[in-house]
């Protein structure tokens, strides 16, 4: 089972995405977001990125999702929608699950999957560069590179987040 752990975790990831895309009430969407965040952390950790996985737990789940949960709890309705309460939501959820199950069977049966592009295992996604980092792991060097070569990215993303807050406040002000 350990050789297929990334595959299993990614299936759970997709299933939880289907769970919130079928639009139950936001509280339940937040619930499956917690599951998908945790599972995503597991996927990253299996590639050696322990720092990034713990960042997901701390910042994403422990910061952003907590704030989301509190605001949703303030704005929730008396009878929130679950996946089985509404026929539409249940139908979309089951359809997403069915497509995922068919895809999983397709992947398990054949070596190579060719839906939009050919994909034959996780090895396709590994892009090796020629940098020799020696004893340091790649992901911590990536974080270091973010603050040295990628200073412009930090500035741009920081400004985008700041303007995001300004925009949201402006839009919901409703004069």
């Amino acid at each position: 089972m350990m050789t297929y752990i990334v595959f299993i975790l990614s299936v759970i990831f997709v299933v939880s995405f289907v769970g919130f895309s079928s639009k139950p009430s936001p509280i339940y969407g937040g619930l499956v977001l917690i599951v998908s965040g945790g599972v995503g952390c597991g996927i990253i950790m299996n590639f050696g990125g322990s720092f990034l996985g713990l960042m997901v737990f701390l910042i994403y789940l422990g910061g952003m999702l907590v704030v989301f949960g509190y605001t949703t709890a303030m704005a929730t309705e008396q009878y929130p929608e679950v996946w089985v309460s509404n026929t539409t939501v249940m139908g979309v959820f089951l359809l997403g699950l069915l497509m995922e199950v068919m895809l999983v069977l397709y992947v398990l049966k054949s070596e190579e999957v060719g839906v939009v592009f050919k994909f034959s295992g996780v090895g396709d996604w590994a892009i090796y560069d020629i940098g020799d980092s020696g004893v340091f792991s790649e992901e911590i060097m990536g974080v270091a590179a973010l603050y040295s070569y990628g200073a412009w990215v930090v500035i741009v993303t920081g400004w985008s987040l700041f303007v995001g807050v300004l925009v949201i406040l402006e839009v919901t002000r409703g004069d």
Binding site: F117, I127, V153, V156, W159, V163, L166, V167, E170, G174
Partner: protein, 346 residues
């Protein structure tokens, strides 16, 4: 809106487009598009009525979908080439998805349905920014990936856009919808020549922006959003009736005005590449555009449209200061003799 916040958000729109135009890393380009989209939403929603909110929501949904498609194309390109630079798209699938995403952002057929509805729901100034500045960023990306674009898809979308832009604008009396359909048609002309000569795309974009800017500013000056209220300009500022006539004829592509320059160059470039039927069809379909511009000039400058008697005796004149209107009018009608300077756009 608080002036400081408004300035910050407007500068972020500019910054987003600049990031898109100046980056060589696909992720930065995507970030630039998202920053642009995020910051223009409160500009579209300057007045708080349900129409602007609906228009902003429609704009946000379509542009966010286009950004998602662009991200998918970027990742497919990354998978097949292993690098993030923008010079060449190495995979046909990625190229097709990228072209569709950028067509959704520009408002090309078959993704044109949001343009009239969004332009109609927002104020004239916001519509101006939407139809001119927001076209710069996707067009610059199309310019940069133009060697690897699939010609069949792009030409199909271009010709259908010219047809839809001409045909769809025929039944409209609202000026913002007319400008939206005119934008769809002009985008079609621009993308038709993109694979053959990207310089002409840039020329067309430049002249289109000048003409659209002029038209919108003339509308803003008389605060008119329907054909009926535009037909009262003879009473408010009689000079602008002539200027509206000249600018609309320039938009229709009539020589000797500057709107003829891009159409002439595009048809010449297409015939040089041995396609004769295509530019003939495009020129014929541009006549549909010309028809509804002529209808606007007929009701505005060439005849005195029927109105009630008290509309004919205006005694209170408001003066608005419209920035740079005279130079824009001159540039959007008299640039044709400068065609040999086209080479500076290379």
């Amino acid at each position: 809106m608080n002036p400081l916040i408004f300035t910050t958000i407007l500068m972020t729109v500019l910054l987003g487009t600049m990031i898109v135009m100046m980056s060589s890393h696909w992720l930065m380009i995507w970030i630039g598009f998202e920053m642009n989209l995020l910051a223009i939403i409160p500009i579209l929603m300057k007045k708080y009525n349900p129409r602007t909110m609906e228009a902003s929501t429609k704009y946000f949904l379509t542009q966010a979908t286009a950004s998602m498609l662009l991200m998918m194309a970027i990742i497919i390109n990354l998978m097949h080439s292993g690098q993030w630079t923008i010079t060449k798209v190495f995979n046909p699938t990625a190229s097709i998805i990228m072209t569709s995403a950028l067509a959704m952002k520009l408002g090309l057929t078959p993704f044109h349905f949001w343009v009239p509805e969004v332009t109609q729901g927002i104020s004239l100034t916001s519509g101006l920014i939407l139809l001119t500045w927001q076209k710069l960023a996707p067009m610059s990306i199309l310019y940069q990936i133009s060697p690897s674009i699939n010609l069949n898809i792009l030409l199909t979308m271009a010709v259908l856009s010219i047809l839809v832009g001409g045909w769809g604008g025929l039944n409209q009396t609202q000026l913002r919808k007319i400008m939206a359909y005119s934008s769809i048609a002009h985008m079609g002309w621009m993308t038709a020549v993109l694979v053959y000569s990207p310089t002409l795309t840039m020329l067309n974009m430049l002249i289109y922006i000048m003409m659209t800017l002029t038209m919108f500013m003339l509308f803003i000056q008389s605060s008119s959003t329907t054909t009926l209220s535009l037909s009262h300009t003879w009473n408010k500022t009689p000079l602008t009736t002539t200027l509206i006539l000249i600018t609309l004829l320039s938009m229709g592509g009539l020589p000797p005005l500057s709107g003829f320059m891009p159409k002439w160059m595009i048809i010449q470039e297409l015939t040089k590449n041995s396609s004769i039927i295509l530019p003939t069809l495009m020129a014929i379909m541009a006549l549909l555009n010309l028809y509804f511009y002529m209808r606007l000039t007929y009701s505005t400058s060439l005849t005195m449209f029927p109105s009630t008697n008290n509309m004919k005796m205006k005694w209170q004149f408001e003066t608005k200061q419209i920035t740079l209107l005279p130079p824009l009018i001159v540039m959007s009608s008299l640039l044709l003799p400068l065609t040999p300077m086209l080479s500076i756009l290379d």
